[in-house]
């Protein structure tokens, strides 16, 4: 029994890849089994695996450990597999086989990366997530999605290349490819850090998230929101736990995306900004590096995957039924989509860390860890971010989508499988909030924490209620930013506008330089050709049939030359 469990073949990732193959070749009727059943089975497999390094494969003189099971990887693997099952359920009604294949490959790659015991294996799966996920964007089948997809893939591959280069340099420096604490002591470490940072949405490197996620398909966005960024968080937790630099980086991440989210019109993009802000909490926690903080990061990742997935699911349902998720076009949907409305509110409350909902039990661990380490400034920053998080997405998303002004859409409720998936996810959001003990039991490190102290509950409620109050006042005073069609510039301007312009400029100048050089060449070349033709051509001086006299002249000249030289 346990013989094969230690082999690379027993990887849950492979199970998902196999499911992808099955989806590709079997009739639609069976897809539910593969999309939901296989991730669930893989989850069981993950827990059947004993802790330790498994699946050792010897390749190119490296010992690759394709299957490392410990607390951290098991938790991440578990939540990835769980959400793979949930999204599989959510996407059951999608007819496009390709999206299912891509999402299973994507989930499999993410699980594989989480279970990777060494940097080479990590790199392979890391690139796997990039390649498979881009199809979820392209599957939107619009010109814009095509462009966005290419852009997204390039950024993902940059991250992969940085990881590859970093690994190579790291290996040369240390002789090891083990994926453990890496640190920033070497160039290799820095490159890997940057690689993780891109996928984790570090400030200035973040914009691919907001660029790509809202352009994917209904189903694709939900899947995308789960894996890539949380994989990066896992990698940071594994490789850079306790790196001080992460604390300021994370702190910035918690605030600035929310400002953008406030004035963003596309609600899925609003969610993408908020996703970025939540990553900030986890990054800060990893930067602190204490067992409590790391547990907090892990717990928050779990909670975050669930509620953010739920929110994206509801917005997906809206997009599916209404055809748009632009706040400026929406309103009053609670009449036609009541269940979705409820699920969205649950998601929003979970996201805002309302007590009894999931984020409350996880986010407060991070806040608590900061407090214990006496990091006052960052603590305040995170508190501010938590307050603001109650508005976006907490209020902004459900309010403008489902209430606000009725735009008169009378659409059907979301399809049944979507409702089922949303319901299950919502239930989980609440369950985690109500019974945090189950989650805490799974956390990788030894640290006890209790979220439900009286003062904590009251303080949190104060924060949220007064934030909501401020919103109501601002809204009534018509000071809350109106939902206007348009887009907001972000760092993507650098590579969507500045870089192409620069490249075009360079191209123009090199084209004209080339033309000028060619002109000089062709002019002088044709002059030379003319000269050659006149000298050697048929009537040319050299090739013409000389008269006998001229020939004799040459004979004389040559003879004279010889004689002169000899004398």
């Amino acid at each position: 029994m346990s013989d094969w469990l230690g082999q690379a073949i027993a990887s849950p990732a492979l199970a998902l890849f196999f499911a992808a193959l099955l989806v590709a070749v079997t009739p639609r009727l069976l897809h539910g089994l593969w999309l939901v059943g296989v991730p669930a089975a893989a989850l069981a497999l993950l827990f059947a695996l004993p802790e330790g390094m498994h699946g050792t494969v010897s390749m190119f003189g490296h010992e690759l450990s394709t299957l490392r099971v410990d607390g951290l990887s098991r938790l991440w693997g578990a939540i990835f597999l769980l959400s793979a099952a949930l999204t599989g359920l959510y996407g059951l009604n999608v007819k496009d086989r390709l999206q299912h294949v891509a999402s299973l490959l994507y989930a499999g790659s993410a699980v594989g990366a989480v279970l990777a015991g060494d940097l080479v294996t990590l790199f392979l799966f890391w690139e796997g997530t990039a390649i498979s996920s881009v199809f979820l964007i392209w599957a939107r089948r619009t010109v814009r999605a095509h462009i966005v997809g290419v852009r997204y893939l390039i950024i993902q591959v940059i991250s992969g290349l940085l990881l590859m280069v970093g690994t190579i340099i790291h290996q040369r420096a240390t002789g090891s490819i083990a994926f453990n604490t890496l640190g920033l002591d070497s160039a290799g470490g820095w490159l890997i850090f940057l690689s993780f940072g891109i996928k984790a949405g570090f400030p200035l490197l973040h914009n691919w998230i907001q660029d790509a996620y809202p352009e994917a398909t209904v189903y694709g966005t939900v899947v995308l929101s789960i894996f890539t960024t949380k994989l990066a968080i896992y990698a940071l937790a594994r490789g850079f736990a306790g790196t001080d630099l992460l604390i300021p980086i994370g702190a910035v991440m918690t605030i600035f995306p929310l400002i953008f989210a406030l004035i963003e019109n596309d609600l899925r993009r609003v969610l993408a900004y908020c996703l970025n802000n939540q990553l900030g909490f986890m990054v800060v926690a990893i930067g602190i590096g204490t067992p409590l903080a790391l547990n907090g990061a892990a717990a928050h990742a779990v909670a975050h995957i669930l509620y953010k997935g739920l929110l994206f699911m509801t917005m997906g349902a809206v997009l599916y039924r209404v055809g748009t998720v632009k706040a400026s076009q929406l309103g009053g949907l609670y009449r036609s989509m009541p269940a979705t409305t409820v699920f969205c509110i649950v998601g929003a409350m979970a996201s805002s860390a309302v007590p009894l909902f999931s984020a409350f039990v996880s986010k407060s661990m991070i806040q608590g860890a900061l407090g214990y380490e006496h990091m006052a400034v960052v603590w305040v920053v995170l508190l501010v971010a938590a307050g603001l998080g109650a508005i976006v997405p907490g209020i902004k998303v459900p309010f403008f989508a489902f209430f606000h002004r009725d735009r008169g859409y009378r659409v059907k409720e979301a399809p049944f499988n979507m409702q089922l998936a949303m319901g299950a996810t919502a239930l989980l959001c609440i369950a985690v909030g109500v019974f945090p003990g189950a989650l805490y039991a799974l956390l990788p490190y030894e640290a006890t924490y209790n979220a439900y102290t009286l003062s904590h509950v009251i303080n949190q409620l104060q924060l949220l209620a007064f934030a909501a109050l401020a919103f109501v006042l601002l809204y009534a005073a018509r000071l809350f930013p109106a939902n206007v069609r348009g887009l907001n510039l972000d760092t993507d301007w650098a590579y969507r506008r500045a870089l192409p312009a620069l490249v075009e400029r360079f191209r123009q100048s090199s084209v004209s330089l080339r033309a000028r050089v060619m002109h000089v060449f062709s002019r002088n070349g044709s002059r030379a050709a003319d000269w050659l033709a006149s000298a050697f051509g048929l009537g040319g001086a050299m090739a013409r049939t000389w008269t006998t006299g001229v020939m004799l002249l040459w004979v004389i000249v040559l003879l004279a030359l010889y004689l002169v030289i000899y004398y």
Partner: protein
Amino acid sequence: MSGWWLVALVAWPALMAAPIVACGRWPNLRETLSVITGLVLLAGVILQIGPLVDGGRPDILLFSILPGLDLHFALEPLGLIFALVAAGLWPLTTIYAAGYMRGNREPDQTRFFVCFALAISAAIGMAMAGNLVTLFVFYEMMTLVTYPLVTHHGDAESREGGRTYIGLLMTTSIGFFLPAIVITWLISGTTDFTAGGILAGTGIGSVGAMGLYALFIYGIGKAAVMPVHRWLPAAMVAPTPVSALLHAVAVVKAGVFAVLKITVYVFGLDFAYQTSATAPFLWLASFTIIAASAVAIYCDNLKKRLAYSTIGQLSYIVLGSAMASKLGAVSGSLHIVTHAFGKITLFFCAGAIYTACHRKYVSELNGLGRAMPLTFTAFTIAALSLIGLPPMAGAWSKWYLMSGSAGVEEYALLGVLALSSLLNIVYLLDIPARAFFLPGDAETPKGIAEAPAACVIPLCITAAGCIALFFLAHPIIDFVGTALGGPA
């Protein structure tokens, strides 16, 4: 005795050219004969693997052209790998060519298959060349026998392309390659490929070695290091199976194989590294990699885009050679294999698309993915392999090239290779993405379907090869690495 095997392998396809001519009137027979010739050749080459892995080095001096200059065949691992690639992909190309040539009703098919056979004979001859002169003989033979293939259509356009093709290749080979060989012979007294090189200890200085290496690289125009790359896009006037043969298997690989072989067995890695004879080509190859990719992005003609992609990819191998390290040489030889599989798949796809719907511009491919799923899936796989993404074979060659760059402490090369990957995404992966996900244009005629099976099956096989090699790259690395001394 085993040396005669090499002669037999080189001669076999050339000898079979005669029966192929004789069967010109019966196309089925002619093509069956071609494929059988290819399979027999492949079997013969495969039989060499065992002895070589056991450390055997078959060797035969056939006769001397001039005193000290022999027609000398010898097989070593680099050559075996090139021979395997050429012999392995040739039967597939033949099958594909049969489908393509018939599908497009091309004229002069017999001449085509004969030249094909001669070209592969030249490729095997190069692979098994035991000295520079033998290499040169077959190098020139390949240029000449592929010329009728390039100019197959015989119109003004192909005449112009053929002129550039043969003009540039002959100019460089006679103007630079030949003098380089003569110089090598004069200073070292031999042109035999020798482990550890033959130039060390001849008293040639650093500058001299650098100059000689430059003569070699620019003399081997088939390696297409800028600015002697122009022949490659010019040769795109050829029918697509020719492009596949030229740009994936025989011609271009012969060029970079020669570069690799000269670096390893004429200069010797240690000597090249100590004199930094190869160092300038780290940067010249890098320039070629980036510049070719940049040009490719702006090419709307699919085959031209692939041609520029080839130019860039070839310089990967030149780069590997120029590292003058074992890792560099190993990665270069691995890339010969992986690029061959990737690029031949892409050309097969381009030809299949042309056969199915006569489109040759990238901008015309929108929406074709639904009609030709196999072709475009294969295209995707090959494109990913060339970009260097797992789980495709190209990932390993890129990995090893990067390791090699780090090994010689040229970290800027890592950036070059990385940038090249990104540019590859833009100009290669963009194509299947369009085909699969963008709506087709209004005038897309209904009823477009996959090309004939003879076209589609080979490209599926080579695409599968791109994936299989990801898992099988390991033996190649070990094999070449061991041959160069010690573990890779």
